[in-house]
Amino acid sequence: MADVPAHITGTVWKIEVALGQAVSPGETLVILESMKMEMPVEAPEGGVVKEIRCKESQPVKEGDVLVVIG
């Protein structure tokens, strides 16, 4: 299991994965937007998307868990 946090304070621009989807290490899960810059949040390890804890256009703080992979 891995909790994947936002590495920066910003807004969720796009969620690139769906619940139950298999992902490989390094795959983009969510794209955050901060100060007009897009920042991909990548899977630290392979697995299946267990939980999506954010919505598109939601503001998030650095450290907030966005996705859980297991």
Partner: protein, 426 residues
């Protein structure tokens, strides 16, 4: 000029100095730009309720929106910018290319219009020659651009660019241009009144960029130096004036060019005041915003081209709240914030100590502009000014500016848009 001002602000900005400094301030909505600074009705309501007569759109956000200019005019406000018709004509960057080409302005080789799909993009790219730049026809400010050096990358770049254009600008049109890996970015300041009088206020060089956004700008361009022979610069200034006339442009604007393979190529007109306008003001003595207001009120431009002369050299440093190496955004609270002061130093800033820099907008905290008799004196003054700039609480690109100022290519005036990617660490 004796004009009273009304500021509009979002919830994210309510504690910033401009809200207090204006004669009146009106809240226009929550933090996300689409609900506040891009909300045309909210801004028009604020103008109405405060009794404003004219609307200055600033830079960014709605400043180049033909629709907004039109709505201001229709609602009986004076829009401080070009006529809505001119904005509409240049809104599609692909069509704008064709208009200026027909007016005799050299353009970057590329597609004649937007490309329909990735198959057509691939065919066009072969004709233009790789690498190519995919650009959103409705884009600007570096948003919606992607480089492709081969057909595989093009497929991805085209899709990414179309997506981004659709989400950011509501239109997916993308066109292609030849990509010059390391051109110089040189631009010409234009002023034009509503009576057909056009003039230029010389050039600025803005080659030092990251992610297609400017970081350092200077006037004069080191390509020309302080006193270039008229033959050397005239083709650039003539092309800029031709481009402005092709759109029946009025008010202040900037014609941007890339200099590559010993030639200038038109990129686009920035139909607004530029972030870097202070370096032109300091070196020519022309008050650009003063002229924007006079022109918008219908007054004739009484300056003559012969009166536009440059004295000295000016360099502007955009101070961004970002990591100076990776350029990652760095929002946070400004625990300490003391911009430098002194002779030849101008600070145009939006924040003060204690303010929070939010993630909602551009990371620019302000602009440090240094003016001196010569470029080398301006560089020395800039080094001292940047060293004495005290900021704590967010990361800034001040260390990057100091690295730039001490690098041999910068000192030699050898600038191009790949400058930062080739500048070594520390």
């Amino acid at each position: 000029m004796g004009l009273a001002t009304v500021a509009v602000f979002s919830d994210a900005d309510q504690r910033l100095p401009f809200v207090r400094e204006a004669d009146q301030s009106v809240r226009i909505g929550p933090a996300p730009a689409k609900d506040s600074y891009l909300n045309q009705s909210a801004i028009l309501d604020a103008a109405q309720s405060s009794g404003a007569e004219a609307i200055h759109p600033g830079y960014g956000f709605l400043s180049e929106s033909a629709e907004f200019a039109r709505r201001c005019t229709d609602a009986g406000f004076c829009f401080i910018g070009p006529p809505p018709e001119a904005l509409a004509k240049m809104k599609d960057k692909s069509q704008a290319r064709q208009i200026v080409r027909d007016a005799g302005v050299p353009i970057i080789p590329g597609t004649a219009g937007v490309v329909a799909d990735s198959t057509e993009a691939a065919r066009s790219a072969r004709e233009i020659g790789f690498p190519v730049l995919c650009k959103a026809a409705a884009g600007g400010g570096g948003i919606g651009m992607a480089v492709a050096k081969d057909p595989v990358e093009l497929e991805k770049a085209f899709r990414q660019c179309s997506d981004r254009a659709r989400s950011a600008f509501g239109r997916s049109g993308v066109y292609l241009e030849r990509y010059f890996p390391s051109p110089r970015h040189i631009e010409v300041q234009i002023l034009a009144d509503a009576h057909g009088h056009y003039l230029h206020c010389l050039e600025r060089e803005c080659s030092i960029q990251r992610r297609h956004q400017k970081v350092v700008e200077e006037a004069p361009s080191p390509l020309f130096g302080p006193d270039p022979p008229p033959d050397r610069v005239r083709p650039l200034f003539d092309a800029a004036l031709k481009a402005a006339r092709a759109f029946d442009y009025a008010n202040a604007g900037t014609v941007e060019f890339l200099y590559a393979d010993d030639a200038f190529h038109f990129i686009e007109i920035n139909a607004r005041l530029q972030v870097e306008h202070p370096i032109t003001e300091l070196t020519t003595g022309v008050d650009l915003i003063g002229w924007q207001l006079r022109i918008a009120s219908g007054q004739p431009l009484t300056l003559a081209q012969e009166e536009i002369r440059r004295t000295g050299a000016a360099i502007e440093f955009r101070i961004y709240a970002e990591d100076p190496v990776k350029f990652f955004p760095s929002p946070g609270v400004l625990k300490v914030f003391r911009p430098p002061r002194g002779e030849g130093i101008r600070w145009d800033g939006g924040y003060e100590e204690g303010n929070e820099v939010t993630p909602y907008y551009d990371p620019m905290l302000g602009k440090l502009i240094v003016f001196a008799s010569t470029r080398s004196q301006a560089i020395s003054a800039a080094i001292s000014a940047l060293q004495s700039f005290e900021v704590e609480g967010v990361k800034t690109n001040i260390p990057l500016h100091l690295r730039i100022l001490r690098s041999p290519p910068f000192l030699a005036g050898q600038l191009d848009t790949s400058f930062l990617s080739t500048l070594g660490p520390t």
